[in-house]
């Protein structure tokens, strides 16, 4: 190896290309993984359905606008049959995607933002701040999500009224989002804090301080990029949990009956006795949708984790 003539090994890295090329390379690499490709494909389908459900199945059917009779099996008119009120199950399931995915994403956002923030600050600053933040997170860690939701949802609904809306989102949904977010950030914070505790003892943190980086800059530029893989993994897990929790809450009757989420559908299927009547077409679509979204999110999460971490990135 001569001083100047260092040959560049072909690492397949787009270090010299411009930004646009790099972004394209990133996506290409993500799609190059078969699991990532499957996950992205499934998510894309559900995202399109969630954005414009009416385009595919027409406006949301209500009891009044129902097009079929009670609990019809699948037919050419109703591909996935009808529910007890004669509404098309396909129509309801597609419209349910919006509610379920919105709740999942919003709850994940709340969880990840609070969790990462608390975890990084607590781990890096340490001392008194750490103690206070961790005692608070302990408190939320021991609160069971479902029980808290059972208590909070009616109280909040009582205070603000069930018809209240915030930015087009009904209060009921907001309550669910808040409850899920509030109860799951503590786990994320704990996990990230433990990683930060080990990271801040690394020499590059000392080096950054020496060359003049402030604590904020160190946390943002040096600590955060090192825990991105944890954050992504947590986001995926939280999204899956949030969709499940929403389903559970709706299933036990704490959802919004006018906004058909997948949990809401399962709830009404159960209460109308669909399982006993053999109406599988009423139960299967929302249940399979929940499973598909959760699985595809996990796949995408795994692929992202590998892509965002330069050390494990495939070459």
């Amino acid at each position: 190896m001569s001083v100047t003539g260092i040959t560049e090994p072909d690492l397949g890295l787009e270090v010299v290309r411009r930004r646009g090329d790099r972004a394209r390379g990133f996506i290409a690499r993500g799609l190059g993984r078969s699991d990532g490709r499957v996950g992205v494909a499934i998510l894309a389908v559900f995202a399109v359905l969630a954005i414009a459900p009416s385009l595919f199945v027409g406006p949301l059917q209500t009891v009044v606008t129902a097009t079929g009779s009670s609990l019809e099996g699948p037919s050419s008119a109703h591909l996935l049959g009808t529910d007890e009120a004669g509404r098309d199950v396909l129509n309801l399931t597609v419209h349910g995607a919006r509610i379920s995915m919105t709740i999942g994403l919003m709850a994940t956002l709340i969880t990840i933002v609070i969790g990462s923030l608390v975890g990084i600050v607590s781990g890096y600053v340490g001392g008194f701040v750490d103690t206070v933040l961790m005692r608070i997170s302990d408190f939320f860690l021991v609160l069971p999500t479902i029980v808290l939701a059972l208590i909070l949802a009616p109280i909040i609904l009582d205070i603000i009224g069930p018809e209240a809306e915030f930015a087009g989102i009904r209060a009921t949904l907001l309550v669910i989002v808040v409850v899920i977010g509030v109860t799951s950030w503590a786990t994320t914070a704990r996990i990230i804090r433990s990683q930060v505790l080990s990271l801040k003892e690394r020499m590059f943190v000392d080096r950054a301080r020496v060359i003049g980086a402030s604590s904020l800059q160190i946390m943002w530029r040096h600590i955060m990029p090192n825990v991105v893989n944890l954050i992504v993994a947590q986001a995926v897990l939280t999204f899956a949990t949030a969709v499940f929790t929403e389903t559970t809450l709706a299933f036990i009757g704490l959802g919004d009956p006018t906004a058909p989420s997948w949990g809401e559908l399962l709830n009404s299927a159960q209460s109308s006795g669909a399982p006993g009547l053999g109406a599988w077409w009423y139960i299967a679509p929302p249940a399979v949708s929940v499973v598909l979204v959760v699985v595809s999110f996990t796949l995408v999460g795994n692929a992202l984790d590998d892509l965002l971490n330069p050390r494990t990135r495939r070459r």
Binding site: V3, E8, L13, V15, V16, M203, F204, I211, A213, P225
Partner: protein, 388 residues
């Protein structure tokens, strides 16, 4: 290091080159940034006097650095030698106070351009960190953030210390990497994609970012193989000449000092044992510790079985021995050694020794001034190589 380890294109700076005042003025004239406001243009670059840095522990104060004085001239390379725990790194880090929280500089002066940095507050010292004195850290892999591109990390001191924009800082970072021999197209690489030598080069680029007057190399070649080590040393030497840097090289590898430095400071148990031009100290060591240290270094021409070792171990610095700290291990120990701290005496050839074997009354000895002169009073005839 022996000759066959040198790489062919090495352009050797005379290893005992003395930096003439004229050159010092020229080096200062080429600074990118003006001297600090309070700087005295006539003052020596760095003058450390009677520095005492102690660590507070449960057992008491550890006197890691206990009365160290030395100077550093513009463009000069000073090697700090000594065994582990003798205070080399603590001495160097005390200059810009990058010390663990339990360390205190209890006495002494660190004068940079005549400005005493010990008196400066933490905030005021920020002006000097990295902009005047920067460090090439030991173990480049650990000092680089594994998930950030190398050029972004090199750009950091420019952003934080000089408030440059992201774009300007990145451009400059790529130039710096080019300067230390990392091709432009590799500048976007992550640390793990570079070899050990290239990572060390990147650390050197980071140290050069703010165009400092002094670069401290804390064991910069320790983890590298001999070939890469030679390249890094050659790079440091070349940069020193081209950029007019002053180098402080901390190492326990005496061959590195012999090859790179003008002067060497041999430390033992927190004090200076011997200091002087490399050519003098390494060929005619005076302090018994220096003699032992040189004898315990393997020589390719000598019989391996005769390798000397220094019996005993360094003293506990919480309760150091009174008098000379080397007394318990010294083959020439006299009764006076364990009672009286030996005064530092200076010889006509610029070597400074603290040992009772050389009392101040010795006819060869020149009286030591209160603070030793920055440059060794050597024959100025050997004109230093002018910077390219």
């Amino acid at each position: 290091m022996t000759d066959h380890n040198r790489i062919p294109e090495t352009v050797a700076l005379p290893s005992d080159a003395t930096i003439a005042p004229a050159l010092a003025a020229e080096i200062r004239g080429r600074r990118t940034w003006p001297l600090p406001k309070l700087a005295d243009p006539a003052a020596p670059l760095l003058q450390v006097s009677d520095l005492r840095t102690h660590f507070r522990t449960e057992r008491g104060w550890v006197r890691a650095v206990d009365g160290v004085s030395f100077g550093l001239a513009d463009g000069e390379a000073l090697g700090l030698a000594g065994e582990s725990g003798c205070g080399k790194t603590t001495t160097a880090l005390s200059l810009i106070r990058l010390l663990p929280s339990n360390a205190r500089i209890r006495e002494g002066k660190v004068e940079l351009f005549g400005i005493d940095l010990v008196q400066k507050s933490e905030a005021a010292l920020q002006r000097y960190r990295w902009r005047e004195i920067s460090i090439v850290f030991q173990g480049a892999m650990n000092a680089l953030n594994p998930v950030r591109r190398v050029r972004d990390q090199i750009a950091e001191p420019l952003r934080y210390r000089l408030d440059q924009s992201d774009k300007a800082a990145t451009t400059r970072a790529v130039e710096l990497l080019d300067l230390v021999g990392i091709p432009r197209k590799r500048s976007g690489a992550y640390p793990h994609e570079l070899s050990g030598g290239m990572r060390q080069r990147a650390m050197i680029a980071m140290a050069l970012a703010c165009d400092p007057a002094i670069v401290i190399g804390d064991e910069p070649t320790t983890a590298l193989d001999v070939m890469v080590q030679a390249q890094i040393l050659q790079l440091l030497e070349q940069l020193r000449r081209d950029l007019g840097l002053s180098l402080m090289l901390i190492t326990h590898d005496l061959s590195v000092i012999a090859e790179t430095c003008d002067r060497v400071l041999v430390m033992y148990a927190g004090r200076v044992a011997e200091e002087g031009p490399v050519s003098r100290v390494f060929t005619a060591p005076r302090h018994p510790y220096t003699r032992k240290l040189l004898a315990s270094f393997p020589n390719i021409h000598a019989d391996r079985r005769t390798l000397d070792v220094i019996p005993g171990e360094p003293p506990d610095l919480v309760t150091p021995p009174s008098g000379c700290r080397f007394t318990p291990r010294c083959p020439y120990a006299m009764p006076v050694c364990s009672e009286v701290v030996p005064p530092e005496v200076r010889f006509a050839d610029g070597v400074r020794v603290a040992c009772h074997l050389f009392p101040p009354t010795d006819p060869d000895v020149v009286e030591v001034p209160p603070t030793p002169p920055t440059t060794a009073p050597k024959e100025r005839a050997s004109a230093p190589t002018a910077p390219a």
